[in-house]
Structures are given as C-alpha cells and as structure tokens.
Symmetry: C2
Subunit: 699 residues, 2 copies
C-alpha cells in the first residue's frame, strides 16, 4: 500500500523549473541530489532541459512508464495533471502546490474536485499544500525540503510541513534515522489512517510517529490503528488539546466532553501512544526506535549518584512502572562485588568513584535478575568516572539482552564522546533521568496493549419497536429533546430498571399516586420544555406524607411557571424514592469525528465540580467499561468504602454497555444523560432515577 510513494521505479516532476529558489526547481534538485536511482522526468513545456535532465512538454510525451508524479504547478492547473496521470497510467501523485482548502471557500471547492477526480480515476494523492515524501532508505527525496535525514527505522508523518521540517532537523541532529517522512498537508486523498496502515505494512518501518491537528475519519482511524498498534508502536502528537471551543451542549456529558475527550479516548482504545509535548514526542521516538519494549514493569536503576537515583525513583513511582525488588541472590552478588558503602538495593548506587568495571558488575547483575524487566543506567561525570568506557560497557550489555537498557548521562560538555558511543550501540540516552523513565513507561504501556486479548461487544435484546415509536413520536412533534415520559419509555425498552413513577395532573392524583407507590416519594415537574428540573425548582425529594405531597405539587407547578412562563407542563411525576445506593451518571455525546462518546462518573458534585469522569468511544467491551470505571477516582466509593458494601459493578458495566449499544444503533440520539443512576449493593442492581435525551431531527 502506498509503496509507489516510497520506492517508485520512476518519478516525474510536473512544473520543473530552471529558476533556483522556485519550488519546481528545488524539488527536482532535491530528487537528483538525494541520488534516486530510477529515471527522473522533468515536465515543463517551456524548457528543453532542467538541471541537466531532458525536459518534456507534458506527461504523455515522456513515453515511458511514470510511477510517481510530483506536481508543483499552480492550484488551478492541478486537476488537468491528474487527468494526464490517469492517461499515462501513473497512480501515485504528490501535489505540493498550495492554494486549496487553506485559502478559503474557492480553494476548498477545488480540493473537493481534486479528491473526487482522484477517487474516480483510482489515483492515490498525497497533499495538496504539503512538502512531499522523503525516504532515505530508497534514496528518494520527493519533497520541497532539502534536509535528507539519515536512514533508520522510524517513519514520521506530519499534517504540518513546518512541524515536519523542524522535527526532521532535530532528528538529524540527534542521529535518529528515518525510514519514511510524509508531509501530507490538506489530505485531499491520503490521510493519517492510510499512512498508519501503509507504514504498518512497511518492512522498513519499526516505529510510526505522527503529528496531527485533527483526524478525518474517526471510526476508520480506530479500526486501522488498533490493528497496527498490535505490531508496531504508533506515537501521536496532537495539537489543540485545550482549545475546547464554546459549544452549546444541553447535557452534562456534552458540556464535559471538551474537544479533546474523544481523541483522548480513541487513542487509548486503539493503543496509540500519545505524546503530550514535543519533548516527549522526541523522547518516545528515541526509546522505541532503539530498544524493545519491556515485558513487565519492574525497573532497576544503576547510578553513581544518590540524588538522580531518588529523582528517577520518584518518576518511576508516579508512572505505570515500579521499582524492581532485586532477588536475594542479586543483592548478595552485588554486596560481594561492590564497595561496602554501595547500595545493593534498587536503585543500585555504585558510588561516585565507580569506574566502568563497577558499572559492568552492577548492570550485569540487574539484567540477569529475573525480577528486572528494564534497566536505567544513570551517570554523573565525576572525577573518577570513565564516561567513554562506561558507555562501551552499557552498549555491549544492552546488545546482549532483550531487556531494554536506557541511559541517562547527565552532562553535556564532558559526556559528548560517551553519548556518541551509546548512540552507535543503539542505547537511547536522556540528559535528564526523568525523561528516560517517561519513555520507558510509554514502552511498557505499549507492551501491555500488544498483549491484551480482543474482547467481544455483547448484543443486548432491545425492544426496538418501542424505541422506534418513541423517537418517531418525538420527531413528528418536532422536539429536539425527549421529555421524561418518553425518555423513560426509551430507557425501559433498553432493559433499564427505573424507579416507579406516576404522572399526576393535579394534587389529588399526586396524593393517590404517592399512597400507591409508598412513602417517601420524590416529585418532579414533567415538561419537555424544562430540562434542568432542579434549576427550575421543579424537584422535591423525601416527601413523607400526603400533606407534603399536596404542598409540593402546588409549589413545583408555580416554580415551573415562574422559571419558564410558556412551558408546556404535563403535570408532576410522583416517583419512588430509592433509598441507599450510590448515584452515578452515565451519558453519551455524539462526537463529529468519532461517533458516540460514552461518559461515566459519580453523580452530582463529582461530575459537576470535580469533573471526575471518563470517556470511551462506543461500542464498548466489558473490559473497556471496567477500565473507564477504574479511571474515575471517585469510583473507589463503588468498590466498598469505609465498611459500606461494594456496589453492583456487574450491573453497572451492563448498563454502560446498553447505553453504548443504544447510541450505536440510533444515530438520531445525539446526547444522553442518565443522572442519577443509582447503583445498589452487589447483586442488587441499579435504578435509573432521571434521564434526558437530545435528538437530531435531521438524522
């Protein structure tokens, strides 16, 4: 897939120019300078020759197969070239030209045409408005960037050309070798998902890195990425984390699901390692490209200074890693080999005067220890320190084991040669030890992901006819939200247990209903026009007798009237008051990119003030739901807190999966809040006390 972009047999440059500094000139020059070993065909009707190569007036006059075509003509000429490509049988095109979506409406229209034309003609297109493709292994620089990085096993795609060149520049400086670099710009055709898939299949790529500003097709991205990440690490830096944008949302779930919640959830669910800053992006690339992932989370640290050992231990303890407990045997062998003042527990302190041999003893012992999954070697350049020899030792030992070995030589001037030695032996080095730990943590999480078995999503039997009827009724009423009665019917159709509830249209009916249900009761305004009932003074709880019920009826109606004069009021719901249990909220908001985004949190304050919630993209397996429950800090309350019985987690998992299924099956539901949902003690199930749905009438 996409291999004609990475190892083409021949390349044409349409718009090749004789003027240095012009994109059409520099791109051709880059191609020639990189030493591409197939034929190169400059195309320009106004030139006979460019940069020493025979030039053709158009693609069809080349007369030989063109495998890859690079277009550097003004935007309005690009569509014509696509047609020419189809005529000569060229199916891979890089459009470097700008002037499309990024310049406004007219450009966006042109880009749509480009997409359509390529799809119709079976042509794959990278760009427009991009730098192009660089593939050091195949000596290909099909780009407008002169930087030719060293060949290696890391592939990097970037939506932004500027970030692309910046990263290439740093990678070259840090000797991180590149397999493929793809600047894919406005992604008229080839997008990040195509690239992940292609690089997943690319034998020259071990690590996939991406810088993205958005993802164009969330569902396909998740499908593809979750397969590729089982084989190779995919590290993504995504910008725009906090730029939530002020969106109108009618549900808690909606208001809590910022712009980033869906990306965050999706990346987790498909095993993508997310880098949260440019620094960690580099750090992760370095680690993944040079060492295999640890097969467990126990880390041994070997250091010649106490302080950095403590700093790293701190970093380990706040990650998914843990400090390895060295075996008795290892401790004994270290004790006999190291000076008496050395620390033979983890972190192993070989003491400030350690030379290379002492490091060797300690690292060997750590690697050999069955309790150790990874080793971090810290070196501070002290007077007796043998920087270069120690680097040699680390390199040698790292080559002889499958356990990852990372280094942190804390220095700059005096450690330079040592760093080159580590570099030559593929040992990643981090000037600051905490960064090595963060990288190792990412590697371990990647390993855990590759080992996680696939999980099934259940198929619940819903009363689909009832759901259809409720939605149709609302649609015909033109309502963008389901009132409580409809919402309850819909939830019942999904198999949710609900509190007993009777709609009372007057005081007498309310009193009768309460007597029938049994005291205490809850009373709530019933109106499709009032969604936030509490705000409207439309809820009364713990009503213990008829007098209270009657008084509350009048008060609720009067409050509702003064909250919204024109509200259509059905009456007041008299509801069973569920005693005990823990209130949670289960919600859904449909994300434009990723589809139904399911939210879980504990009720009331936890959601609204502490924002202690978690999100995942539907559909959801039981394992993913349990993960999402665990992610919520306050859910410890559900697991038996201070002598309280643990909550019915199985029922809760089931309930969240039902909301997930409903959201997947009925796209016209755009938002949903089941709030509160009472979780009773283990084995005693749940009860939904209130629920709201928002609808999209267009769907």
């Amino acid at each position: 897939m996409l291999e004609h972009f990475f190892r083409p047999t021949s390349v044409a440059v349409v718009g090749a120019s004789r003027s240095p500094g012009k994109v059409g000139h520099d791109t051709l020059k880059n191609l020639i300078d990189a030493g591409f070993d197939g034929p190169i065909y400059p195309v320009n009707p106004k030139a006979d020759e460019v940069l020493g190569l025979a030039c053709y007036p158009d693609l069809s006059s080349v007369g030989k197969p063109v495998d890859l075509c690079i277009v550097v003509l003004p935007a309005k000429l690009v569509l014509g070239i696509i047609d020419q490509c189809a005529d000569v049988g060229c199916q891979s095109v890089i459009v470097i030209s700008a002037g499309f979506q990024e310049v406004g409406e007219e450009g966006a229209r042109l880009q749509s045409e480009l997409t359509e034309r390529c799809r119709k003609l079976g042509i794959r297109c990278i760009g427009p408005n991009c730098l192009g493709v660089i593939s050091p292994a195949t000596k290909l620089n099909a780009s407008f960037s002169a930087t030719m990085p060293p060949a290696g096993n890391v592939s990097f795609f970037s939506q932004s050309g500027a970030v692309g060149t910046a990263v290439l520049d740093v990678f070259a400086g840090e000797h991180v070798g590149i397999s493929r670099f793809i600047s894919y710009g406005n992604r008229a055709d080839v997008d990040e998902t195509d690239l992940i898939q292609a690089l997943g299949e690319d034998p020259d790529t071990d690590v996939i890195l991406g810088y993205v500003e958005s993802i164009s097709d969330g569902a396909r991205f998740m499908d593809v990425a979750s397969k590729v990440t089982k084989k190779k690490p995919v590290v993504i830096l995504k910008s725009g984390r906090t730029a939530a944008g002020a969106r109108a949302a009618s549900s808690h779930t909606g208001s809590l699901a910022g712009a980033d919640a869906a990306y965050e959830a999706a990346f987790k669910q498909c095993g993508v390692v997310r880098a949260r800053s440019v620094t960690t992006f580099f750090d992760f690339a370095l680690a993944f490209s040079r060492q295999g992932a640890p097969k467990g989370n126990s880390v041994a640290i070997v250091t010649n200074a106490g302080g950095p050992g403590i700093l790293s231990t701190d970093a380990v303890e706040t990650s998914s890693l843990k400090m390895a407990t060295l075996t008795e045997a290892t401790q004994a062998s270290l004790a006999s080999a190291l000076p008496s003042s050395a620390n033979v527990h983890n972190p192993v302190d070989v003491i400030g005067d350690a030379k290379a041999d002492r490091y060797k003893t300690a690292i060997e012992a750590a690697i050999a220890d069955e309790n150790v999954d990874a080793v971090l070697v810290i070196l501070t350049p002290q007077t007796s320190t043998e920087v270069d020899a120690t680097a040699e030792v680390i390199g040698e030992l790292a080559s002889g084991t499958r356990k990852p070995v990372l280094a942190s030589f804390m220095g700059q001037l005096s450690t330079q040669k040592g760093l080159d030695i580590l570099d030559g032996k593929s040992v990643p080095n981090y000037i600051h030890p905490e960064r090595a730990v963060t990288a190792l943590d990412a590697m371990y999480r990647f390993y855990k992901w590759t080992q996680s078995p696939p999980e099934a999503v259940p198929d619940f039997e819903f009363d689909q006819a009832a759901i259809k009827a409720v939605l149709a009724e609302s649609a015909s009423a033109g309502s963008r939200a389901l009132g409580e009665r409809h919402a309850r019917r819909l939830l019942e159709a999904c198999g949710f247990p609900l509190a007993r509830s009777v709609l009372a249209e007057d005081e007498d009916a309310a009193a009768r209903a309460a007597a029938e249900i049994g005291y205490p009761v809850v009373m709530k305004i019933s109106s499709d026009d009032i969604l936030h009932k509490s705000d409207a003074g439309g809820v009364k709880v713990g009503l213990r007798d008829e007098r209270q019920v009657r008084a509350s009826f009048a008060e609720i109606i009067s409050n509702a009237r003064s909250y919204r004069r024109d509200a259509a009021i059905d009456g007041v719901l008299v509801q069973q008051m569920a005693l005990g249990g823990t209130e949670v909220i289960v919600g859904m908001k449909r994300d434009a990119q990723f589809g139904p985004l399911i939210m879980f949190g504990l009720g009331g304050i936890y959601v609204e003030v502490l924002k202690d919630v978690s999100f995942r993209v539907a559909p959801l397996s039981a394992g993913v739901v349990r993960e999402m429950i665990d992610e919520v800090q306050s859910s410890r309350i559900l697991k038996g807190f201070r002598g309280q019985p643990p909550g019915d987690l199985n029922a809760l998992v089931d309930a969240i999966q039902r909301v997930s299924q409903l959201s997947v099956q009925w796209p016209q539901i755009t938002e949903c809040d089941i709030n509160p949902l009472k979780v009773f003690a283990s084995g005693q199930g749940l009860m939904a006390l209130d629920v709201r749905f928002a609808l999209d009438l267009q769907t």
Copy 2:
C-alpha cells in the same frame, strides 16, 4: 555574609599533595589553573613545594593572613585543623574530606564535634564531604571539580556533589554563566538557608538555584527564603517527592501528609519556585538569568507555523498565563503589514515564507501592545526562513524592551548559528515551545509573589488556662490521644462552636439528654480507646425518637465491646444533629522539619478517596488560608453551587487560623482532626461535630 568563601584575599590548601589524581593535588591545581589572583599556600609537612608553590608544614608557619582554608585531609585530622584555623585567625573553611555523617555512627559523631568546634570558635565551615566552591567572577576554583564554568549571574548550590558537577557540565554546554557554585555536602555548619541568605546579598548573583535532598531547619529556611525571594528568584529542585515512607499516623491529616506535603507548602509560602524535574530546573535557570519577569500574565506568540502556535497556546492555557488579546490598533497595523493569509490575532502567524523583516514587524507590534506582557517567538526552519537574521532581529528587539522575550527555534542542525546569536543577545531559547511557556509561567508566578503585600497573622484570645488543664490532665493519665470530652473542652477553649452534647451513661440518661437537646440526635461512643468510632460501629445518626435512642445505646455499647474488649468506655454521647451545611475537615500534623502543617479539605469521600486537600505551614494569614481553600477543587461547593447558598467562608478562615494558632502555641499537640466541621450558609457560622487530638507526652 560568606563573602570570604566567594572572594577570599588568600587561600590555604591543607593536605596539598604532589601526586596527581589525589584530591589534595587536584584541588590545589584547580585553584592555580583558575587564575586566582591572591596568594595560595599549600600546607603539607612532608613537602617543600607543590605545583611550584612553596609548601608550609602547618597553617601557623604560613606567617601571613589566611582568609580561606580548604581541608583535604582524612576525617580524623580535620578537627585539629579547625583549631589551627582559629589560631591563625582564619574564619572560613571548606572541608572537602569525606568520612563523616555519610559513613555511619562514628562519622556522625565526628561531624557533630566539627559543628560544635566551628560554632565555638566562630568559624564558618562548608562541607564536609563536598566538592567545594567555585566563583568564576573572582577566578576562584576552591573545589575538587575541574569544570570552570563561564562567569554569569546564576548561583547554584547543591547538596549532592554529583548533581552539582552534572549541572555545571550542562550549564557550560548551554552557555549559562555562573556566579557562585557551592557544593555543601553534609552541611556540618553552612546549610541551604545560609547560602540563600548569602546569595541574596551577593551583588554578583541575580538568580539562586539549589538542589536539595532535605532542609535542615524549616522555620529558619522559611523566614530567610521569604525575604530573599522578594528580591531574587530562588529555584529549588528537591528530590524524594514520592518517597513518602510508611509512617504510622493516627489522623487523616497525618496519613495524607506525605513526606512532601510540608516541602510543597513551605516552598509556596516563601515564594520559592519549585522545579519538578531536572529539565525544568534548567529551563527556569535559563529564563530567569536572561530576561526580567513579566509584569502581567498576557502572552503574545509570533510564529511562522500554525501547529507549534496551537501547541504553545495549549500550554499557555493550562498555566497561570493567558493569551493576550491584541488591541484593535495592533491588529490593524499587523493586517496592513503582513500578507493577507497571515493571522493577526494571537498567536500571530507570520506564515511559512516569513523572512526576518516580517518577524520584525510582528514582534515590534506585539511588544508595543499595552495588552501584552511577554512575547514568545517561534521559528521553524522552513525553506525561506532566515534563521540567523531573525535571531538578530529578536535579539535587538528584546534588548530594547523590559518585557521578556523568549524564543523557540524548533530545530537543531540548521538553527545552530541562530541559537548562538540568541545566546549572545541573552534571549533564552527552548527547542520545544511548551518549555518556553512553562518557564515564562514560573517567571510570572515569581513576579506575582514579589508584589504580594505582607499579611498579618491574627492573635485570638484563647482560654489558655483551660487548654493547659486539659493537656495536663491527659498527660498525667499518660494518654497519647484526647478522648472526645477532653477534645471538646480544648476546642471550646479556642472559641470553636460545638454541637450540643451530653454524655449519657445509661439508656435512661440518653433518652433524657435527647429530649432536652431535641430530635433528631446523633449518638457516639465515648472512649479514649476508640478513635475511629465509625469503624467500631460506634456512631448512629438521625435518631428521631426515644425508642431509637434507647435501642441505639445498647447497640453502640455492644459494638464497642466487640470492637475492642478492653476499651474503657465513658458512655455514649448524645449530640445535637446539625442539619444542612457542608462538612469539611480541618487538621494539623506536626512536621519534623517545618512544624505544624495545617490541612483543609471537604469531608468524607473528598478527603479519603479523592485526597482533595491542601496544606500550609502555620502560622497562617487570612490570605494564605483563602489560597489553601481555593486550592481544594471541591471547595467550589462552599462557594454556592447549583443554587445552594454559599458557605460561611469568613468563619471557616477564622477557624483554620484558630487551629493554626493552637498548633503554634501548644507543641505537645502533634496531630489534630476536626472532622466533620459543618460550614453553614454565609453569616451562619460553623459547628464542629467531632474532633481528635494526638499528643506527644515528651514535649
């Protein structure tokens, strides 16, 4: 203060050796090589001459004034040299020698003697077990480290010699100039507080950096640091953040106050900028040493690439900074000067083909804008980018303004010369823009601190006689904890409102008490032997009539008996049940370093599960207490949440300050939990429902 260590008039090296590689040789050589321009006196009875200098058998035979003495003899000889120093009138000694506290009991004893001797003789001593002192400005290398960093305005003290050399090595590589470097090792005499004070007064020091593993005298540290930080930034990297250590604690406060809570609180309260990793330590040093702090938190970003602009905006929005809103005038002038596709809002995108002149226009406009307090310039090396010329422009503009200007040139190979230019113009550069933002954030927080007015601590009138009586009674009973009755008396003596409460010794008494107090009531076991009453089944709430009270009495007594058979039971407390209000916890734990550490959090789950609490070191001004309340996320509940009335924050601030004063005045109280403390609506005060105190009988 300590100026003889930084600019001595003469230096003696006691233990000077002729053998290269020996500490006594290398230290002398470092001193000579650095070009110290006063007389140097090697002292060694076995040599006539060392490294070309006349050698003396002992200090007294030098015959001229010795201003600073460096000791490199074995530990057991050091005390004798201190005496000699006193004899010749030398009052400043660096003890490089190891073999003291770090080698165990015997060494610790020797070190105590060293401390005592120095104090008695009026000698200031740095070390032992240290590298020594380096002062490039005065051409002094009085250390065992050969690295002589360039002179500059940053001073750095390090408890660890290894971390010291590592940092010096990196600083030298990054061209960060040093004023003083002090490796102070085991701090037998001079400690971190002395150093902060001395560097605070040192005219050659603009920025103070420290690496510490612990602080020896918390109260003095806070006193000194809070003054110095009003003039100069003090940045501290402290290791051992998570190594909480398993401590037995009888209170919530105790169990929540990990090893780090006191440091964290103390640093905040005395304006110390805390670096949380080695990376930020460097980043902060760079920013503070090269630019002044911003006088507001509005940042303008100028970039030639959209992606990094978004990444930086994200970083700004998650810090104490905010994105500046450019004035209409600035936007208009940018719009007329920049190409039409440029973004004239903040972040200002000058577009990928921007040359130096366009950067100049944009940066000038940003600096001139009254809404802008600081400017971050991002550059990605693209084809048309003029890296060097842009660096010149930035340097020039930065020199002409008092607003801080930071750069992020995102590259390595192709940006090297540009970085040197920025360096020469004192513009800090960060390869990754997020790190520039983090540094700017630290600078702004420093600025805010320097502007914060000093605040008074109130002096409440306590019934000291009653407090004394309660504590004396408990002490004579040999109890390490106050039972509820005593605890209530103590709290009342501090002016706390308590729930009405009657101790009942039998069922009848309980029923009478409940009738008198009024229903509903709470009943609790009263026993000095049962601290966690709920765990013991010793609490019943919401008892509504005599029948329930009588039944509960029997049940509570029986639960308590089965919880702890030998518990001395006073009876059962019948207590007024406070309706409404929000439960909070106010606690105290005495920290070994810093003294009383006051905790605040919301009651129950918030404290125990979410650990949503904050700490400060007593005594506390009202401003600090409000800060501590704000720091607790869930305290939004107290500020009027979802239509609930706001809580009585004034009364809460007062209460926390009362706990603070009690803790300061009565050191025998080691821990305290007022939990729950009910906070009623604004103006309606508080009510303490339960309280526990732990005592130290030794105090």
